[in-house]
């Protein structure tokens, strides 16, 4: 999209009114928030004895997984777009010609340094085939730095672990219909009219 595109709406920040410039009303507003939290129900949980409740697992940003297609092959086409989008430079891909006749390119190796990752979800946004997704797994532990570099096999196994609880958001691309119900839920929330 070019900056001159008519579809872009450019917003200006509103100038400060008298109440904002007086400081006192905002001060009272802030204190009210603090006071409200003093009396409202507690949300802190004692992890790990108690598991936090994940609101919508489909949009939670936890450990990555690499999705599989209908034939159980890695869905990723090794386009490097996730690695390009990743602000933490933690994705390392080695691409190669795919061993399957219907696909051109596949990741020979795919590594994510989970310690470097900032769980921003940019990789998921960038992926053109919805191959990489962030799951709702949040207790990510390991004994060494090496252990925290997840390779292709590990990322694919995360998919096997989570595929039932968190179906792929775009079943159409995988060719399977089993997860079709998940599609509209997620994409529907993004397609609002301006």
């Amino acid at each position: 999209m070019k900056p001159t595109d008519p579809a872009i709406v450019w917003l200006e920040e509103k100038p400060l009114g008298l109440a904002e410039r007086l400081y006192l009303p905002l001060f009272v507003q802030g204190l009210t928030t603090t006071a409200r939290h003093l009396v409202s129900p507690k949300v802190t949980v004692s992890f790990p004895e108690e598991r936090p409740r994940v609101g919508n697992p489909l949009i939670y940003r936890g450990v990555h997984r690499l999705n599989k297609d209908a034939q159980g092959r890695v869905q990723c086409v090794a386009c490097f777009l996730c690695a390009t989008a990743c602000p933490a430079h933690c994705i390392d891909i080695v691409a190669a010609e795919s061993p399957w006749p219907d696909r051109e390119k596949y990741p020979e190796s795919f590594q994510i340094d989970e310690l470097r990752c900032i769980f921003c979800g940019m990789c998921e946004e960038a992926c053109p085939v919805d191959a990489i997704e962030l799951t709702s797994l949040l207790d990510l532990t390991g004994r060494s730095r090496e252990e925290m570099i997840f390779d292709k096999e590990k990322l694919l196994s995360v998919y096997d672990m989570t595929k039932d609880a968190e179906p792929m958001s775009s079943a159409g691309l995988s060719g399977g219909s089993a997860h079709a119900h998940a599609g509209p839920q997620v994409s529907g929330s993004q397609g609002g009219a301006p």
């Binding site: 090794a78 386009c79 777009l81 390009t84 691409a95 010609e97 219907d102 051109e104 053109p128």
Partner: protein, 552 residues
């Protein structure tokens, strides 16, 4: 001077210049999009992307008469009074339609296409295309087939510009590629039994404006937007093609020719194009080592830290005396000069000679005018010009061998740095045996050889993309270049070692050395000041300075 009017802007062109509308518009800062036209190939005007409006201004009345139809800018020459309109609504509409037609059956597989990021179809679509796709065709995968040992064709990505076909007919003169079928079924293919296998074949990939032709050496290795670019010079032969080294994280991924009308025009040979793999060969010498057993029989080497090398190398050579030095034609002018200066400071009577000059076959000129030289080193002329400052006789490698065999040397310093993938090692055991009797032998090379087996000191050299400096090619054209990648850990480039051995402070600065040489030698005076990216011909200034006393 003829005047051309580009979008209302008057520009002057040379009286005898033959430009087309694309070139004339470029002078006015206007880019006319084009696929099939390439300055090095014949004009076919088949893609229609360059359609523009033109007209003619009447010199007497100043009235402008426009041509009623759009014309291809690539095929329309300009003359005095030519009017070019590149931005009118009609032109824009035409470009959008051409883009739409090209994309109707194009597999939009940009994420897996190696050209993405440097693809003209992408760029022009973004710039000139329309945002919506009206044809409702399913994207499909591109069929692929190998048209030669190095090049793969992705059949459905092709936009039939025929640049590749014209290249094999006009520049390489081998004509392996052709267009099969007609109309919407047109495809590129190689003639049966004649795969695309010539010494310039890699070019078709550069010429292809889309991702239809893929270089198997680079395919899938890296996305192009990760690559950094450095203007370099190819070290493969004495032609010294201007190139661009494309690298990322100190790894070279590919080389591309850089346009230089005085040297290689738009081309380079495949030997040079793929001639960077030796840089990342694990067999390279990676540290400065000194033999522990003085009799050179044992293979025990001790790694010496570089700051220590600076002192001990000098004291070892000074102790042995009778120094003979081979100045490799792979070194830059700056390094050659510093090497001579260091050698003469160790032994004022040091014998300085041009190192081994590798040759293979004979010069080969292609129909497009491109020449691959038999002399497989980039800087013989430069090294000779430097040596002439120290010894007007400019002895060669054979003279050095005779000197050593004649027992007139007690120590030698042989710089080499020849890339490995030659048919044979650059030095054989018999020649190396000539150096066996010396009390100190320093060998500086990329790879172990029969000579380094004899050495007292075994120093690593660096490859072309790892050095900075000046090379002088077979046509006496000096080209300066920067270092593209860092050498492997633990390797000091020759320049850095010599700079430190000369006792100079700070980082090695080739420009300072170049200025110093230019000030000291009339034959190299042209190197003073900024050398343009296309290089400078040393002979022109040499002729001009003939008769004036040398400032040295």
């Amino acid at each position: 001077m003829p005047q051309v009017i580009v979008d209302g802007q008057e520009i002057e062109i040379g009286a005898h210049e033959r430009l087309n509308c694309i070139e004339a518009a470029r002078r006015a800062g206007k880019e006319i999009p084009h696929y099939c036209w390439h300055p090095g190939l014949s004009v076919v005007a088949s893609c229609r992307m360059c359609l523009i409006e033109t007209g003619q201004r009447d010199a007497a009345t100043g009235r402008i008469a426009m041509v009623p139809k759009l014309v291809p800018g690539c095929q329309t020459p300009v003359k005095d009074g030519t009017v070019i309109v590149t931005e009118s609504a009609l032109v824009k509409e035409s470009r959008a339609r051409v883009e739409e037609a090209l994309l109707i059956d194009h597999p939009i597989d940009c994420p897996i296409c190696d050209k993405a990021g440097e693809c003209l179809l992408q760029d022009y679509h973004f710039e000139h295309g329309q945002p919506q796709r009206r044809a409702d065709l399913q994207p499909f995968h591109s069929r692929r087939r190998d048209v030669g040992p190095t090049v793969t064709l992705f059949v459905d990505r092709c936009i039939m510009c025929t640049r590749c076909v014209r290249f094999t007919r006009e520049v390489s003169g081998t004509g392996e590629l052709m267009v099969t079928s007609r109309g919407a079924k047109e495809e590129i293919d190689s003639f049966p039994g004649f795969p695309l296998d010539n010494k310039l074949a890699g070019h078709v990939v550069d010429l292809c404006p889309v991702g239809a032709l893929g270089d198997r050496d680079f395919l899938y290795q890296q996305r192009v937007w990760f690559l950094k670019h450095e203007a370099n010079v190819c070290g493969g032969c004495a032609t010294g093609c201007s190139i661009i080294t494309e690298h990322n994280q100190d790894t070279v991924y590919r080389l591309k020719p850089r346009e230089n009308p005085h040297v290689n025009k738009w081309w380079m040979c495949d030997e040079g194009r793929y001639g960077w793999h030796h840089l990342h060969d694990p067999a390279r010498l990676l540290s400065a080592e000194r033999r522990t057993a003085p009799d050179r029989s044992g293979a025990a080497w001790q790694t010496i830290d570089w700051p220590e090398v600076v002192d001990r190398l000098r004291s070892d050579l000074a102790a042995a005396g009778g120094l003979a030095v081979a100045v490799s034609p792979m070194l830059t002018v700056e390094e050659a000069w510093m090497l001579c200066a260091v050698a003469r400071s160790i032994d004022p009577a040091a014998f300085l000679a041009v190192g081994h000059v590798p040759r293979q076959g004979s010069d080969e000129t292609f129909p497009g005018g491109f020449t691959i030289r038999a002399e497989k080193c980039p800087n013989r002329h430069g090294v000779e010009a430097v040596l002439a400052l120290f010894d007007p006789a400019v002895p060669g490698w054979d003279d050095l061998l005779a000197h050593v065999r004649g027992g007139r040397a007690r120590s030698a310093w042989v710089t080499a740095g020849y890339p490995a993938p030659w048919p044979a090692p650059w030095i054989d055991a018999d020649t190396a045996a000539a150096f066996a009797g010396l009390s100190c032998l320093v060998v500086q090379d990329l790879f172990p050889s029969a000579l380094s087996d004899q050495a007292t000191w075994r120093l690593p050299a660096v490859g072309f993309a790892e050095r900075a400096g000046t090379w002088v090619n077979a046509g006496h054209r000096a080209q300066c270049f920067e270092q593209a990648i860092r050498p492997p850990a633990g390797v000091w480039p020759e320049g850095r070692l010599l700079w430190n051995m000369l006792g100079r402070r700070g980082l090695y600065d080739p420009v300072a050395v170049r200025r110093q040489i230019a000030g000291a030698a009339a034959s190299l005076a042209a190197l003073d000041g900024d050398v343009p990216a296309t290089g400078i011909d040393l002979r022109i200034l040499q002729l001009a300075s003939n008769g004036t006393p040398s400032p040295a």
